[in-house]
């Protein structure tokens, strides 16, 4: 029967009301009274047209910003992984910086795998970027034979599930002009194909070998399977969401990255918006601050409204402003004025700062409404 009220309320409130009604048995009369009251309350809590909500949101972040810590390293749930938090992270999110300082992923697994620690470990090993040095105990140069000899770390290889054959194959594929073979004592020998190599080149070869990519997903430097709410989740340092989504064991509907551009690339703009919200919320919560979710939604919406992620910087949101004076009063005024002069740009004084500049009422709040009065012409005497 309450359907008739549905149009008058926002969906979230209506749904919550439905849920609460189910839990409480109300008579029809009570239910009507309840909805009448609810609608009345909603109407009185609505935001007023003309409210300069942008400034309020800016203040809602600016004021707690002064209370945040600058210490960037905090532990995110688990002691082993470092994640930038606090003011630097908030700045990073709002700047929409392409390079996050500590990218990380939270990889959920499909049902078949998420109960078993060994399965989780196996998948984690698949994801982790492994370079040759991690599998080696020692790199040495054999001057007599002019070759590089590598003693393998069998334990690490077992942990990362790498067999000798696999290793030999990838090594010979990625090391050009080098013959790769394995001795009986489990050392791997790298010998340049060219005759009479200089010692310097051997050193180079050694360094190159160390950094050779063996397997995994590039960029993921650390993996950590942990138990979270009765299932195993893999946390990573380094992020490459697109590649991770190619693995069939990964639950693509829940896995995320804290790198907004990664999310944008892999999942699109709506997901990027959600990522901004989640990440900003994480910072605010972790610092024990209280900022209403609406302000975070607001900034996320603004940053993504154009279809791409734009930062709150002079090259991002501010550069899109139509008003020359608004742009000039922020940063680099001369450049904006010079550019404006060539195009004969017009400033129509539609936003705030321009009107402040020319001493006129600002089109916000009480400056918004205009009064149109129909005045009778005085009759001629």
């Amino acid at each position: 029967m309450s359907e008739e009220y549905k149009d008058q309320l926002p969906l979230s409130i209506w749904e919550e009301a439905q849920k609460e009604l189910k839990n409480n048995n109300l008579t029809k009369k009570q239910e009507k009274e309840f909805f009448d009251k609810l609608i009345e309350t909603y109407k009185s809590s609505r935001i007023t047209p003309g409210e300069s909500i942008g400034v309020i949101t800016a203040e809602s972040f600016g004021e707690p910003g002064t209370q945040m810590t600058l210490n960037i390293f905090h532990f995110a749930g688990v002691a082993e992984l470092n994640v930038t938090l606090g003011l630097p992270r908030l700045i990073e999110i709002f700047d929409a910086r392409k390079e996050a300082s500590t990218p990380s992923m939270e990889i959920y697994l499909d049902k078949e795998y998420n109960k078993d620690i060994n399965a989780a470990k196996r998948i984690a090993a698949l994801i982790k970027e492994t370079k040759f040095w991690e599998l080696a105990q020692e790199f040495s140069i054999n001057i007599a034979k002019l070759q590089v000899e590598v003693t393998l770390n069998k334990k690490n290889m077992r942990d990362l599930r790498i067999t000798d054959q696999m290793l030999l194959k990838t090594l010979s594929e990625s090391m050009k002009d080098t013959t790769v073979r394995q001795n009986k004592d489990d050392t791997i020998v790298l010998k340049p194909s060219k005759e009479n190599t200089e010692l310097k080149e051997l050193y180079k070869l050694k360094e190159k070998a160390k950094e050779t990519f063996i397997k995994g997903i590039s960029g993921v430097t650390q993996v950590l399977p942990i138990k979270q709410n009765n299932e195993f989740v893999i946390l990573t340092a380094g992020s490459n969401l697109k590649e991770v989504f190619k693995l069939k064991e990964v639950d693509k509907s829940r896995s995320t990255s804290n790198d907004i551009f990664e999310v944008l690339k892999a999942l699109g703009i709506e997901a990027a918006r959600q990522a901004i919200i989640n990440e900003a919320l994480k910072v605010i919560r972790e610092q024990g601050l209280d900022v209403d979710i609406r302000h975070i939604l607001f900034i996320a919406d603004l940053m993504t409204a154009s279809g791409t992620v734009k930062g709150i910087t002079r090259s991002g949101i501010t550069s899109d402003k139509e008003s020359v004076l608004a742009r000039a009063s922020f940063e680099t005024p001369i450049r904006h004025i010079i550019d404006a002069s060539l195009l004969g740009e017009e400033d129509e004084l539609t936003s705030v700062i321009e009107n402040v500049i020319v001493n006129q009422p600002v089109p916000l709040g009480t400056g918004l409404p205009g009064l149109i009065a129909r005045i009778k012409k005085p009759e001629a005497k």
């Binding site: 926002p10 979230s12 409130i13 609460e20 309840f34 009251k37 609810l38 309350t41 909603y42 007023t48 003309g50 942008g54 400034v55 309020i56 800016a58 203040e59 809602s60 972040f61 600016g62 004021e63 707690p64 910003g65 002064t66 945040m68 810590t69 600058l70 082993e80 003011l87 709002f94 209280d290 900022v291 209403d292 609406r294 302000h295 607001f298 603004l302 991002g316 501010t318 402003k321 139509e322 608004a326 000039a328 680099t332 005024p333 001369i334 002069s341 060539l342 195009l343 004969g344 740009e345 017009e346 400033d347 004084l349 936003s351 705030v352 700062i353 020319v358 006129q360 916000l364 009480t366």
Partner: protein, 855 residues
């Protein structure tokens, strides 16, 4: 007070052509001389009175007005040779690269031209961004064209030689060459290259007539010695005129080309530095003292420049600033103003037939007696100062239509502000209360929204001067309208400190005799005797508290101890009042009152609750001293036990580490693992001790009362004073800086014990030993650094946010849009609810159901 009669509709930017310059100018500057022998501005000089006047006695020869009325007029200098405008060097380069050196056409064939033209013509006039993007694209596409599609002439590459020379195949192009090329560019082609030829012609980027700003823009200062000191711009312009003249003379005299070119370059230098004296490749022009001149660019840019200093931030009259001090006796929405200030700040009141007698009294009292008045404004706009001489006459002529500027009086509205104005509660409206003394008075309860204290803070006060401004200040800004913060929907004004502990003690345990209770209530301004009738001979604190509440208030909430606080029909029947009920940011009761009884009533009730708390404390007295931190011996022993146990555990861990029995955590070294484990152990100690103290503390201990009621401090503070200070941490680790392998030289290398890495076993009361003190100082310094580095960072973030978001507003259809009317959100916050009008950001549906069902 001038009414707004003109409204600026739009501002168009453009580039002045020589013809425009001539049209807009009133004077041609021909001589570098400024004044003649009498000190009078020379005709055709830079201070020519046709360009406006800066001396009070003179009149402008262009408009005939005096100093204040004449805003000044422009002039020009006819340059002997054209000069490149530094700020347009890049633009000129692009033009030279994109057009044919012979025929001046753009290096595109007709088909391409038509294609780009249709695109550009199709764009909205205001879509500057797409226009610019296209222009850039066109310029890019022209980069490698070596042959003009129109006249088939071969093209050469042009390069800039900084700052203002152009080289084509290592041959220098003089500004004359450049100008002839730019002159050849057709309007159509220029449009494709990003010019709006209606407002800017390509050739206007070369200066032939230099526009001279009015004298009023560069006033000279007369020093005490009577000597005149000219503005930096005048200096620079003087140089330009002088060199220009010499150049003219040399050209006319047929001087060798080398000399002419040298002078030409010199002129270019002067005009370049006239526009911008901070270019990297140009040595800055200097005063004789060696200090660089401040020319046009420096006037505009940066924080001290025109934009941010004068245009975006304006200075006002009718303002006052002084130190603030507390006064709990005035209301929350009042501000105490010293008489001295009240007599300087005035409120304009228009004389009508109804108030003329009242206003005449103010005029009669004059400016020297309070409450008087300082000025009378005649209807023709003339302002008359009230003095003993003018008083009689003004009184006589005063009639409706006049405006009297009377002194500030009780009940006037004022706007009060404390910097940094981080949120809107940093500027609120207060009622004036004129008081003796020399400082502003502020009720301590409103310190929180201002973030003020009284250790020397100063605050600003403004008196709105128009009826509209006063109405806005009252309706939108007064303290009671700001009770709930739009940041999180919590109250920013509530009880604090003594008032919280007072109400806590009162509702927890106090019992008063009837006389005492009535005395207490009368003391705080409750004088409705009918309310005292139900008092018996003994009155509980809860009964007293209940007197202040509205009779129909029904409310259930929880306090800090998770105890239910029940108010039924305006009676507090269960629970102790603490900061979660009436405090700042927590006060559930305050928000309930605000929702059900409105802001004015809430402020009234809150104000008496606040006073009740303070007066309640005064009955028994309340203090805190060093003996609050005394612990019983048994407790001391138990604390020692905890510390010793932890020390032992740490020792075991270290031993394990040395015996290689420790397993490393994934992706950590064994050393890191050990550190982590030790740190976790040590961090727990202080909390454990805190719990021990909390369990055993007497509820009579004032420090405990303050901590439990939420008035000030917490148990950990007490633990640090009485038991131990605990582990000091730097960046989330134990202290490790200092000497090689150790923190201080008195420890052994590689020592890992708690003591050697910043664990402080002493308490503040007993005192720290030197090493402990040093570790404490380290973390103290670190946190000072953190604050000092954070403030500018968060300030910049705030500035950027404010700048990006300032013109977003709620439209009448409840969408959120920016200044271009682009939609950002269809409904604010997805449900259109104002955080400041909601209950912590939501509508309390459960509460509504409870109300309906009456449960």
């Amino acid at each position: 007070m001038a009414e707004i009669s003109k409204k600026i509709d739009r501002i168009t930017f453009g580039l002045l052509s020589p013809e425009d310059v001539k049209k807009l100018s009133y004077v041609k500057i021909v001589t570098p001389e400024l004044y003649d022998k009498e000190g009078y501005p020379v005709d055709g000089g830079l201070m020519d009175t046709r360009m406006g006047v800066i001396d009070p006695g003179l009149t402008c020869r262009t408009c005939g007005e005096k100093l204040k009325e004449c805003a000044g007029h422009f002039g020009y200098i006819d340059l002997a040779r054209p000069i490149i405008h530094v700020k347009y060097v890049r633009v000129i380069l692009d033009l030279l690269k994109s057009t044919c050196r012979e025929c001046g056409r753009i290096l595109l064939d007709d088909k391409e031209i038509a294609k780009h033209k249709t695109y550009l013509d199709g764009l909205d006039k205001r879509d500057v961004i797409s226009r610019r993007r296209r222009t850039k694209l066109i310029k890019e596409s022209l980069k490698n064209i070596r042959k003009c599609p129109h006249c088939k002439e071969k093209q050469y590459s042009v390069k800039i030689e900084k700052p203002t020379s152009f080289m084509e195949n290592d041959k220098r192009l003089t500004p004359i060459d450049v100008k002839t090329r730019l002159d050849k560019i057709q309007n159509l082609d220029a449009e494709l290259l990003g010019f709006n030829t209606e407002h800017a012609k390509p050739s206007s980027t070369i200066i032939t007539l230099l526009f001279i700003p009015p004298v009023t823009m560069r006033p000279s200062i007369t020093l005490e010695s009577g000597e005149r000191s000219e503005d930096d711009l005048t200096h620079k312009l003087g140089d330009i005129v002088r060199i220009n003249q010499r150049l003219f003379e040399n050209i006319n005299a047929g001087a060798p080309e080398v000399i002419v070119e040298d002078l030409w370059d010199l002129l270019q230098y002067h005009i370049t530095t006239y526009f911008d004296n901070t270019l990297t490749d140009v040595p800055p022009a200097r005063h004789r003292s060696g200090q660089p001149l401040k020319t046009l660019t420096e006037r505009i840019k940066s924080k001290e420049g025109r934009f941010r200093y004068n245009l975006a931030g304006k200075r006002v009259n009718f303002a006052a600033r002084t130190v603030v001090s507390p006064d709990p006796e005035i209301e929350f929405n009042e501000v105490g103003i010293p008489k001295q200030v009240a007599m300087d700040l005035t409120v304009p009141e228009r004389v009508t037939q109804w108030n003329i007698e009242r206003l005449k009294k103010f005029v009669e009292k004059g400016p020297k007696t309070y409450p008087g008045s300082n000025y009378v404004l005649r209807p023709d706009g003339r302002k008359k100062k009230i003095t003993d001489e003018t008083k009689e006459q003004l009184l006589e002529e005063l009639q409706p239509g006049y405006i009297v500027e009377r002194h500030l009086m009780d009940g006037d509205i004022a706007i009060f502000n404390r910097q940094p104005s981080l949120h809107k509660m940093s500027i609120m409206g207060h009622r004036v209360r004129v008081i003796p003394g020399r400082s502003f008075r502020l009720n301590p309860a409103v310190c929180y929204p201002y973030n003020a204290d009284f250790d020397g803070d100063e605050m600003n006060l403004h008196i709105p001067q128009t009826e509209e401004a006063r109405a806005e200040a009252e309706v939108l800004m007064e303290v009671q309208t700001q009770l709930i913060s739009p940041k999180h929907g919590l109250n920013v004004i509530g009880c604090m400190e003594d008032s919280v502990s007072g109400n806590y003690l009162l509702t927890r345990e106090m019992n008063l005799s009837k006389e005492e209770a009535i005395n207490l209530l009368m003391n705080i301004g409750v004088n409705d005797t009918s309310k005292f009738k139900k008092f018996k001979s003994q009155v509980t604190g809860r009964e007293i508290f209940s007197i202040l509440l509205p009779k129909d208030l029904n409310f259930i909430t929880k306090n800090r101890d998770d105890e239910e606080v029940i108010i039924k029909d305006g009676e507090l029947i269960q629970g102790t009042i603490d900061s979660d009920i009436i405090g700042e940011e927590g006060g559930t009761l305050i928000r309930k009152l605000h929702k059900d009884y409105g802001e004015d009533e809430t402020l009234r009730i809150l104000s008496i609750i606040f006073k009740l708390g303070i007066k309640a404390l005064e009955i028994n007295g309340f203090t805190t001293g060093i003996n609050d931190t005394d612990l019983e011996e048994e407790l001391v022993n138990r604390i020692k036990q905890v510390v010793n146990d932890t020390n032992k555990e740490v020792k075991n861990l270290i031993a394990k580490y040395h015996n290689n029995e420790l397993d490393a955590m994934p992706s950590k070294t064994i050393e890191e693992t050990l550190e982590l484990m030790i740190l976790q152990l040590l961090n727990k100690v202080r909390n454990k001790v805190g719990e021990l103290i909390a369990e055993n503390a007497s509820p009579k201990n004032p420090t405990i009362i303050m901590a439990n009621s939420g008035a000030k401090g917490n148990i950990l503070n007490l633990a640090m004073m009485s038991a131990l200070v605990g582990q000091q941490a730097l960046r989330g680790r134990r202290i490790e800086k200092g000497y090689e392998g150790r923190t201080l030289s008195l420890f052994k290398k590689g020592e890992l014990s708690p003591k050697s890495k910043g664990f402080i076993e002493s308490a503040f009361k007993e005192g720290l030993d030197p090493t402990e003190f040093f570790f404490g100082a380290m973390t103290g310094r670190d946190s000072l650094m953190d604050t000092a580095l954070r403030t500018p960072k968060s300030g910049y973030l705030y500035r950027r946010l404010a700048n990006a978001l300032q013109d977003l507003k709620i439209e009448y259809d409840y969408t959120v849009r920016d200044a271009n009317k682009m939609i950002i959100q269809f409904k604010y916050g997805e449900d259109g609810i104002d955080v400041a009008k909601s209950e912590k950001g939501t509508i309390n549906i459960k509460g509504l159901i409870r109300e309906v069902t009456g449960k």
